[in-house]
């Protein structure tokens, strides 16, 4: 078991290094990728800024608290994007083109092999830097002081959020084993994830329930941010079970899909 973990860790470090080389070779790609995120997030910040010109408080969240939530949501999204961007390609065309068999004939776990093709995706680095900047700036403006438990839980909460994002993505992308392409579903669900960047209290209770228990985007930012800002632990105790269940379901569906996969004849 330990040997397996060590092998995969070594592979990950190696493959991330390879990807970093690619980044330095295609610097323009990197700049364009980062710029596209700065612009998109800039729009979201502008929206929050405009909203708070009219109110001091929205569903119990102030301006800097809302920004903190946005920044935190970018962190888990970024971590997910850094390691799982290839899932978009799976949803889009790997099954249709029959290329997926590539991942089945090497002595590594197929899901790991699939993901490893796009480690350190440049957009993810831009998103991570931006998320950190926003989180730190708004924490500074709030004069936020975390206690020991909150400091200790900060990184694990981001990781859990990323695993939840990755699980939802894996689950939807795996649907392509049945439907050949699931790209439109994936982008629709991805869009739904944007709800997670704003205070959940804004939405209709039915939508809140969906975002918490069906597509658990609430656990990727809203619930951790509520803990860090207000010390609320009621949702947080579910973070680990929800992460575990999401990951297990996603991986299970992926395995069933792989077993069902048939190569194209060509």
């Amino acid at each position: 078991m330990i040997a397996v973990v060590r092998r995969y860790l070594r592979l990950t470090v190696l493959l991330c290094g390879v990807s970093m080389h690619r980044l330095t070779a295609y610097r323009m790609d990197f700049a364009v990728g980062v710029a596209s995120f700065v612009i998109r997030v800039g729009g979201q910040i502008a929206l929050i800024g405009l909203v708070y010109r009219y109110v001091d408080d929205l569903a119990g969240w102030g301006y800097h608290q809302a920004l903190f939530l946005l920044g935190f949501s970018l962190l888990s999204r970024a971590l997910d994007r850094l390691f799982t961007d290839q899932l978009w390609i799976l949803a889009w065309q790997l099954v249709r083109s029959g290329e997926f068999h590539r991942y089945l004939i090497r002595p590594v776990n197929p899901l790991y092999l699939l993901l490893s093709e796009r480690f350190m995706y440049p957009e993810g680095i831009g998103e991570l830097a931006l998320g950190l900047a926003i989180t730190l700036a708004s924490a500074g403006a709030l004069d936020l002081h975390l206690d020991v438990a909150q400091w200790l839980l900060f990184v694990p909460m981001v990781v859990c959020g990323a695993v939840i994002h990755a699980s939802i993505k894996t689950l939807i992308a795996s649907c392509s084993f049945w439907s050949v392409s699931s790209l439109p579903v994936l982008s629709a669900v991805h869009q739904l994830g944007e709800f997670g960047s704003y205070p959940l209290g804004l939405y209709h209770p039915a939508l809140q329930a969906v975002l918490t228990w069906v597509l658990p985007f609430a656990f990727t930012a809203y619930i951790p941010a509520r803990y860090l800002l207000f010390g609320a632990v009621d949702g947080l105790i579910w973070l680990l079970p929800v992460t575990a269940v999401a990951a297990a379901v996603a991986y299970g569906v992926f395995r069933i899909g792989v077993n069902r996969y048939e190569m194209t004849g060509s």
């Binding site: 323009m28 790609d29 364009v32 990728g33 710029a35 596209s36 612009i39 998109r40 800039g42 729009g43 979201q44 502008a46 929206l47 405009l50 909203v51 009219y54 109110v55 408080d57 929205l58 569903a59 439907s179 439109p184 579903v185 982008s187 629709a188 869009q191 739904l192 944007e194 709800f195 704003y198 804004l202 939405y203 209709h204 939508l207």
Partner: protein, 267 residues
Amino acid sequence: MRRATRKYLPLAQAGVHAVLQYRATLLLQAVTAATATALHVFLWRAVYAEASRPPDIPLNSLTTYLVLAQVLALLHANRVDEMVAGEVYRGTIAVALLRPANYALTCLVANLPAAIIAAALAGGPVLSLFAVLTPLDRPTVPNLLLFTVAATLSVLLAFEVNFLVGLATFVTTNSWGIRMIKNGVVAFLAGQVVPLGLLPAGIAQVVRLLPFQGLIDGPLRLLLGTYRDAAGAAAILGVQAIWVLVLLGLSVLAWRGARRRIEVIGG
């Protein structure tokens, strides 16, 4: 005229057939538009509920703006940028030069009817859904007519913007990244992210001189009647029309330049 129809009609039909064939894509376009709309509607309703001095546009007008902004965005979601970029990237653009047809016109007829049908089939249900869920403004007949003219111009604008972005692939090969940047910039400057009327006055004035406001904000100001007088309405249409012509000129120039740049690997 008849010859032109015979030449281009099949392209339009093929585009529309493709839309009708991929019904799941239509459904998901509708779901995506509906979620984006819901997010904005929830957000601004909360603002109106909690603000001591809410924005001076009535909530129902703002809701109508938010819903229709997403529907108009569907109308502008032609895939011209993707199509042109793809052909440049693969080099198949060389074939386009051999065809006895105008390339820009080919792109136009292959994509616009399809985009209009897709917008009607995906946007119609979204509009009906929000009309049932939340109170919307009912436009006056003159405003509806003005909106129809402006919406038609906006479709042309969206085509020209995307055509130019597609041609940019001749300069940069990273067409995906450029398209992502374009999507972000256009969504914001058109008024899809934030209604332009809510921006600080100075910024709004500048943004309203750019071509992108003619995609969403201009048509919706006409529909909701938030212009000052007849001259104000004419000005909105005038700015739109000028940009349609300017971008047309730019497209022609860019296409000429691109033809000179074409290099295709033989094989």
